[in-house]
Amino acid sequence: MDLKTLIPQKLKEKFPAVEFEISDYKDELTLKFDKKNIVEICSFLKSDNELEFKLCSDITAVDWATRKNRFTVVYNIFSMKHNFRLRLKADVDEADCKIDSVSSVWRAANWQERETYDMYGIKFNNHPDLRRMYMPEEFEYHPLRKDFPLMGIPGSLPLPKK
């Protein structure tokens, strides 16, 4: 069976309570669902013998600025068995800026989540080492948020401690 129908079908069977929003744009399958199911779904996709999404390519987020759910966390995973790329998405609201960490599923997610935290300020629950990736720890802002100015904020980057 075609993977584009197989994956949603399998997920619906396994998680009947979860609502999936499926889109297929430019030959790329995207699944969107509620953020509380992220760890279960990811570990299912990884461990299922028919799918085997063992490679977590990339984790990032999108800031929609004006939408109700301001952020969308995007997971880009790859199945080496089928050479198939799948994108998972989960909305995160600014008021409750947290999502469960998938670093227990793929260890590669560790740094990718740290980077997302650094750039967008989305906290990842149960992350083993949630520090900033690029910016110094004292930095207060999250640079890739749309309300952060391109030129930066004067005085926001502290000098190193003596």
């Binding site: 390519s57 999108v62 740094w111 980077e115 520090r131 690029y134 890739l144």
Partner: protein
């Protein structure tokens, strides 16, 4: 220790002290020491900083610190048009800028629905493979230099210089080429450039064998790296190792084969793999990949079709400069594209190529205007450095230098 607590960031120190250690010794605390390596260290290939927790000379903990070269390229991408961003991709992996250009334009073309003509695609393949050879030559040379074999660096850089000369003819720049354009390449490959490429490939093999002889018969070099920094297949995939490093662990994964782009499905090539996953395997693999890339370039030169190098889509593809100065239509299109951008339809795509360090991908979100709403660079070096603690733990401090050299991180790309 107190001094250290005062000077080091408390969170970094905590991460370092909590990092897993597989070694148990009774009086560990008395023998332990924390060493700061980098960011100004010649063996870290840029501005990588490592905090090492040592027991005697053995490493029991390692925390890499990134961000010393963070220039915010993802933020900048959100504030400039797709065309303007091409030169910035040169600065990501500055050892193989051509491959980054190709990755960016392929992502934008996928988003905007443009297809470059066949000849342009062949030229892109050629420059991407030359970039791979150049990058691997630097990697091999710098790696050998890190472990003490200085001569090889000069030899490989001499070969790389010839590739830079080809790029010089092709686009007028040796580094930071910005040669590709959305919908094609900046200018057609000149016959001199193609002839020089052919000449280079023909004379390349004997030189590569020379380098190989110099290193493979060097007992110090081999014993220094044999069995050092080994990682298993499962760990490598789980930790996100990619590119040549992953293939050296026995995973036959190459995006040129697994998710073909450009015209790689028309080319016959092998994907070299090794099973050991140590520094020696990574070195062998890079040598083999240079040979395969040379074969690919030979086939490309044979198969390269004639024809245009720009897609015929006036509203999306910049017109040639001489036409802009002489024709009204082209002038209007040039003005519109430069000032308002190419406005791809609303949507999001991810496109990755097999860059010289691994999977180099761009995730783009378009809201239908001239600038990308979101651009995420999936950089291979970032993911490769993530595996570094796993590789170095249990080895001696002098092996760290060899391991960093063998995974070939480029900080411009890891820090974005």
């Amino acid at each position: 220790m107190e001094q250290l607590e005062k000077e080091t960031d408390p969170k970094i120190l905590q991460a370092l002290l909590a990092s897993r250690n597989d070694y148990t010794i009774e009086d560990a605390l008395e023998n332990e020491m924390i060493l700061n390596m980098g960011p100004q260290h010649p063996a870290t290939h840029g501005v990588l900083r490592l905090l090492l927790r040592l027991d005697g000379e053995r490493i029991i903990g390692c925390v890499p610190e990134l961000g010393y070269l963070h220039r915010g390229y993802e933020k900048m991408a959100e504030n400039m048009s797709y065309y303007e961003y091409i030169p910035h991709t040169d600065r990501l992996d500055y050892i193989s800028p051509m491959a980054n250009n190709v990755a960016w334009v392929l992502a934008v073309e996928k988003l905007a629905g443009i297809e470059a003509p066949k000849r342009a695609q062949y030229i892109r393949m050629m420059i991407a493979e030359l970039a791979r050879i150049a990058s691997h030559l630097v990697a091999i040379g710098a790696f050998a230099m890190d472990v003490g074999a200085l001569t090889v660096f000069l030899w490989t850089l001499r070969e790389r210089e010839k590739i830079l000369d080809i790029w010089d003819i092709l686009c007028g720049a040796r580094f930071t080429n910005s040669y590709t354009r959305i919908g094609g390449v900046a200018n057609d490959a000149q016959p001199e450039a193609l002839a020089k490429t052919k000449w280079f490939i023909d004379q390349f093999e004997p030189y590569l064998s020379e380098v190989e002889q110099l290193l493979n018969t060097n007992r110090i070099f081999i014993e220094r790296i044999d069995g050092v920094g080994a990682i298993s297949k499962e760990d490598a995939i789980d930790l996100g190792f990619c590119g040549p490093n992953l293939r050296a662990c026995g995973v036959e994964f190459d995006l040129r084969r697994n998710a073909p782009y450009l015209c790689y499905d028309e080319i016959d090539f092998k994907i070299p793999t090794y099973t050991e996953g140590d520094c020696l395997a990574r070195y062998f693999l890079r040598i083999d990949e240079c040979r395969e890339s040379a074969k690919i370039v030979t086939q490309i030169l044979e198969k390269m079709p004639q024809g245009p190098v720009h897609a015929d889509m006036p509203k999306k593809v910049l017109p040639q400069k001489d036409e802009v100065y002489s024709k009204m239509e082209e002038l209007i299109h040039d003005f519109m594209i430069v000032n308002f951008g190419i406005n791809p339809p609303v949507g999001e795509i991810y496109h990755a190529i097999e860059g010289s360090k691994g999977e180099l991908g761009f995730y783009l979100v378009s809201k239908g205007d001239g600038k990308p709403w979101k651009c995420k660079i999936r950089s291979p070096s970032f993911n490769n450095i993530q595996c570094l603690p796993k590789l170095v733990i249990g080895h001696l401090i002098s092996d760290v230098v060899a391991i960093i050299g063998s995974i070939d991180p480029i900080m411009g790309e890891a820090d974005k």
